[in-house]
Symmetry: C2
């Protein structure tokens, strides 16, 4: 495994990598969800690159950029164990040199859900992903489904800007008790963590109801909300049931693939989770 | 010379091109200025690609997108004669499929001059150039200095998004009487064309004054304006003397490289031209 700490170093290493190159962009503090992405890339690609960069542009002014958890030695050990070949850890001043003034904006999809609650967040995501793709020039890039809206924004970005990369999405990895893995879980107190299980439990209840035939959008959202609102420490940002592609909020009967997603705060910690509900194909 | 009429066709042809690949993006209706760009690429690269695409996103609602001149047979003959290997003529629906919602915005530089007079123009330029670079994946791309602000916007874009391409700029090509070549010159009536010579004449007068020692920014702009305002059919959009890098308008004494640029309308035809004034290095 080789580690590049400048863009030029990475590009030099990249020239020696056999195609196809798989790429997993991360903000570090890696967990088993990231490991699954790297292992998937490992199984499908001749070479695997991982970037570790906490991107200030995707954090709002009152968000947790400063305290976002960091653990470079742990990250490198995980990357090595998962089979990464190339690591890019670019310095902030190379990613955003003085006078930087360019942004990539994906419209439409970004006005709702996370985009509505985190203004500017997806401009930051779209810009850094475009930059990383231009530095890494991967053949495939791997993203988790936990960041459901991000995944859709990146697919749209790749299509709209003709980025020559294939996006591969991978299932959310969960703790045995259902909590979706997140670098931010480390912020949770034991009490908050216990109550945070209501997120996956609520989604599971709604999914079970959906499988049993419930198709009313508001009834499905209500099942999730009831579960979470029973937790005294939980503050809901949103519980949404939306068209899985356009992210337009659904009313009435669910007829096609739908994204059931949520964001909930526990004190200063904001968690997200989701599940896609797919009606069985008409027989 | 091979012609691709879809992105997929171009990518297939591109895989066979030897590096380095030089690229000249154009809106067609090619003239000797474009030919000079293609020939320069030919002289420096193993393979040369030219794109021909009239990009609607860089035209304002009241601009000349619909009537912008087109001559594909003439363009292909010029490309062939100048030594191009690969031609990309993408269809509109592939460059902007239904639901396209992504834009690349270069801030700072784009609020003045052309950007101030053509709102949205540089978002269109930055977005299409990013897309074309992603499709063509050139090693070098060639731009004329006539579009002075565009050149600076593209250099900033390439730096800010880490696009793996080298930008090469080439001198403006002029008619023997001084008129800068432009696809839009074809719109000019004989009378307008005669009066349009005031643009290059005004720039030349100012340049001569500068070489002779004139350093007052307003006096230099005044020399250009006087020349143009003497033409009854000319309407000045702007005459600017700005820092050549930041494009901040200059007041008082000119101390470093400065861009003297202008936009002037003759009826419905809008022409631009410029010259860079460089004080001699301190001996």
């Amino acid at each position: 495994m080789q580690i590049a700490r400048t863009i030029a170093e990475f590009r030099a290493l990249r020239r020696g990598a056999r195609p196809p190159l798989g790429f997993v962009p991360t903000m570090g503090y890696l967990h088993a969800g990231h490991r699954a992405l790297i292992e998937r890339a490992r199984s499908e690609c001749a070479a695997v690159a991982v970037s570790i960069f906490v991107n200030p542009m995707q954090f709002g002014p009152n968000e947790d950029f400063e305290r976002y958890p960091r653990d470079e030695p742990g990250d490198l050990a995980l990357c090595e164990a998962a089979g990464a070949d190339l690591i890019l850890i670019p310095p902030l001043h190379e990613m955003y040199p003085a006078g930087t003034s360019t942004a990539v904006r994906v419209g439409g999809l970004t006005g709702v859900l996370e985009g509505a609650h985190r203004p500017g967040h997806f401009d930051g995501v779209a810009t850094i992903v475009t930059k990383l793709f231009n530095v890494v020039t991967p053949d495939r890039s791997y993203f988790g489904r936990k960041d459901a809206q991000q995944l859709r924004v990146i697919r749209r970005l790749v299509r709209d800007l003709d980025l020559p990369v294939e996006i591969v999405d991978c299932a959310t990895v969960r703790e045995p008790d259902g909590l979706a893995l997140s670098s931010r879980n480390v912020y949770l107190s034991p009490e908050e963590r216990a109550q945070a299980l209501s997120l996956s439990r609520g989604l599971r209840r709604a999914e079970e109801a959906f499988v049993a035939g419930e198709r009313d959008a508001e009834a499905l959202r209500r099942l999730v909300r009831d579960e979470i609102e029973a937790q005294p420490l939980a503050r809901i940002d949103y519980v949404s049931l939306a068209d899985s592609e356009s992210l337009a909020e659904l009313e009435g009967r669910v007829g096609g693939p739908a994204l059931l997603s949520l964001a909930v705060r526990f004190g200063g910690t904001r968690l997200i989770d989701n599940v896609v509900l797919e009606p069985p194909a008409a027989g």
